[in-house]
């Protein structure tokens, strides 16, 4: 039983990271109806930036805040320069754009910081949390930071004018434009926020998976699995999906013999395909009806 509790808690901790990635993916999906295949690489790049700042002597939380701000700005710049002109292009062109962004960010990170694996610090330490053997302080910190961020986001979307405008622009762009909302800038804002959320995920998971240019590939696939499970049209679903996928991954790895770390990615693949076949709209998404 202790093993079970332990694995569920560890699952919630990694699930928090998947929830962040899924949320970032869903925010961009809501805004422009495309999946950002470069979300993981953007998060990886942000994490490298924070690492570089710490190498230059900036304290952890200073680097954390600076990275959030830089990622936010970076997300907006990417949208303005590269994806705004593609808004009316066919799906294929957009997918090509995301793939190009993926290749560029991955390769540039490798050029600047090379492909060797680096240690990444944790501000929480890794001793047992509150004296219990169930969970480490870093895992507890991961959960805490994610929950704090989710609450802030909820407050932002629920109680501020800009949050309301963003929701309006995402659900009915035409009508939103008619009541005077600048939908184009709302999309850019969504990109910035997605980049910032992704950077939090990157900085929280980096002490666990270590820092290197390909560190986010597995996390991104699980983030996609979480987003699909929760429903790509539902931010709340994406977060729930993230926690569920995290717990599922840990339990499968513990209780099914022969399924260890070496099957991590195939499990995510199986999960994505199963959800898409059984319930394509996800647990919390709304079904979409097509017209000729």
């Amino acid at each position: 039983m202790e093993l079970f509790t332990n694995q569920v808690l560890a699952g919630i901790a990694t699930g928090a990271i998947y929830a962040c990635m899924a949320l970032a993916v869903v925010m961009i999906y809501q805004a422009i109806d495309h999946l950002n295949f470069a979300q993981g690489e953007m998060a990886m790049f942000s994490t490298f930036m924070s690492w570089q700042m710490m190498q230059w002597g900036v304290p952890y939380w200073g680097a954390f805040i600076l990275t959030l701000a830089l990622s936010f700005a970076g997300g907006i710049i990417i949208e303005r320069l590269l994806f705004k002109p593609l808004a009316k292009a066919p799906v294929l062109t957009n997918v090509a754009g995301f793939i190009a962004l993926y290749a560029i960010v991955n390769s540039v990170a490798g050029l600047i910081w090379d492909f060797t694996i680096k240690q990444y610090p944790t501000p929480f330490g890794s001793s047992p949390f509150l004296g219990s053997q169930l969970i480490s302080t870093h895992q507890a910190g991961m959960i805490g930071i994610t929950l704090l961020m989710l609450i802030l986001l909820f407050v932002f979307f629920r109680f501020t004018r800009v949050g309301l405008a963003m929701r309006a622009a995402a659900s009915l762009p035409e009508s939103a434009r008619l009541v005077g909302i600048n939908t184009s800038w709302m999309i850019a804002l969504g990109w910035g926020m997605a980049a910032a959320i992704g950077s939090v995920a990157g900085m929280m998971i980096a002490p666990v998976v270590f820092l290197e240019p390909n560190m986010m590939l597995g996390v991104l696939i699980y983030g996609f699995a979480a987003a699909v499970l929760g429903g790509l049209t539902s931010p709340f679903g994406a977060v729930m999906g993230g926690f569920l996928v995290g717990i599922f991954e840990n339990l499968v790895g513990t209780y099914i013999p022969g399924v260890g770390n070496e099957l991590k990615l195939p499990i995510a693949l199986a999960l994505i395909i199963t959800v898409l076949v059984v319930k394509p709209a996800g647990l919390f998404g709304r079904p979409i009806v097509k017209r000729v």
Binding site: V91, T93, A96, A100, A103, S107, G110, L276, K290, R291
Partner: protein, 338 residues
């Protein structure tokens, strides 16, 4: 408004390409063919090897082109089919001792089956969902190949070494040159078959689905069947390319078939022009020679160069090499008039 009432009109995922614009004229085809036949007689072995790889990747890009340009479906997972083809050939040659030429049809058939089965769930998905599922497939494939259970057959992380075949019947040519002509014959065969496929009833069904799925099904096209069929054909051709690739490189290993390969093939298709079959060879040349040049400048640069060029292509020449070819043709036409 209740949730289920929301209605979406979807634009076609890929811009329509007329059937005739998908191929080259007879005259141009013969010139290209003659160049491909004669060229290896005058160059060194290493360049012959690169030309072989050019044809092999050309086949893989062609396969993706049939899927995307023909039936309007995406795949970011072609590297997985390529890997299955490569491993099928390598295992049959090294463990079963089968002749290399015989392994290729088997690789093709196995990949056709794999693609057809993967297409079953995929046919319920469109656009981004399909891209997502195939993206996950491509990232998962290297881990599947490394699995301990299959290690006896696949060689695990180490991979397998494949012996290069000699020219048969005592023909007076080196291994590289023989393999080049062998690949050339297969490539031409598959190219002609693909052109005919797209001109046939099935090809018209593919294009009807690409342009408007719901309208196609209203016209009596079995959408599910033709979508999976396109997936299967594409995977099968990619499998043959993978098998040829294993023989040419003489080595298969899980890390040779990562998402990077899938990205390269996708890039090759976009650069060559989606839906323009001869563009496949242009795209293939691009994905073979550009990384060579980029890596000679700095290690790890090729991804950035790929990405930047891909952006330039989608912004400046969204139809890829086809657009360049059309512009060139028009300029030639003007010159003739003067």
């Amino acid at each position: 408004m209740s949730a289920a009432e929301e209605v979406v009109t979807e634009a076609p995922a890929v811009e329509a390409v007329p059937k005739r614009a998908m191929t080259l004229g007879v005259g141009t085809s013969l010139v290209v063919l003659a160049a491909l036949v004669i060229a290896p007689l005058f160059v060194k072995n290493f360049i012959i090897f690169q030309m072989t790889m050019l044809l092999i990747y050309g086949l893989a890009v062609l396969a993706l082109n049939i899927l995307t340009g023909g039936s309007g479906q995406f795949s970011l997972g072609q590297s997985a089919f390529y890997a299955v083809g490569a491993y099928t050939s390598a295992i049959l040659m090294e463990h079963v001792g089968m002749n290399y030429a015989l392994t290729l049809p088997i690789a093709g058939i196995i990949c056709f089956g794999f693609g057809f089965l993967f297409g079953q769930p995929a046919l319920r998905l469109s656009g981004v969902y399909l891209a997502l599922a195939t993206f996950a497939l491509a990232t998962a494939m290297p881990q599947l190949l490394k699995l301990g259970y299959f290690e006896h057959w696949t060689g695990g992380v180490q991979g397998l070494v494949v012996t290069k075949p000699d020219a048969p019947f005592g023909l007076p040519m080196g291994q590289d040159m023989w393999l080049y002509y062998f690949t050339l014959v297969i490539t031409i065969g598959i190219y002609v078959a693909s052109v005919n496929l797209l001109r046939s009833r099935s090809g018209r069904a593919f294009m009807a689905i690409r342009d408007n799925e719901i309208a196609a099904s209203a016209m009596g096209v079995d959408v599910a069947l033709y979508k999976t069929l396109a997936f299967g054909v594409s995977a099968g051709i990619t499998g043959v390319a993978g098998g040829l690739g294993a023989i040419a490189v003489q080595f298969v290993a899980p890390d040779g078939y990562t998402i990077t390969l899938a990205i390269s093939l996708f890039l090759g298709m976009v650069v060559g022009g989606v839906g323009w079959l001869p563009g496949s060879i242009v795209g293939s040349a691009f994905i073979i020679f550009v990384p060579n040049i980029a890596e000679s400048i700095s290690k790890g640069l090729s991804g950035a160069v790929f990405g930047v060029l891909l952006f330039l292509v989608i912004f400046l020449v969204p139809h890829g090499a086809r657009q360049v070819a059309i512009v060139a043709q028009q300029m030639l036409g003007k010159l003739k008039k003067h």
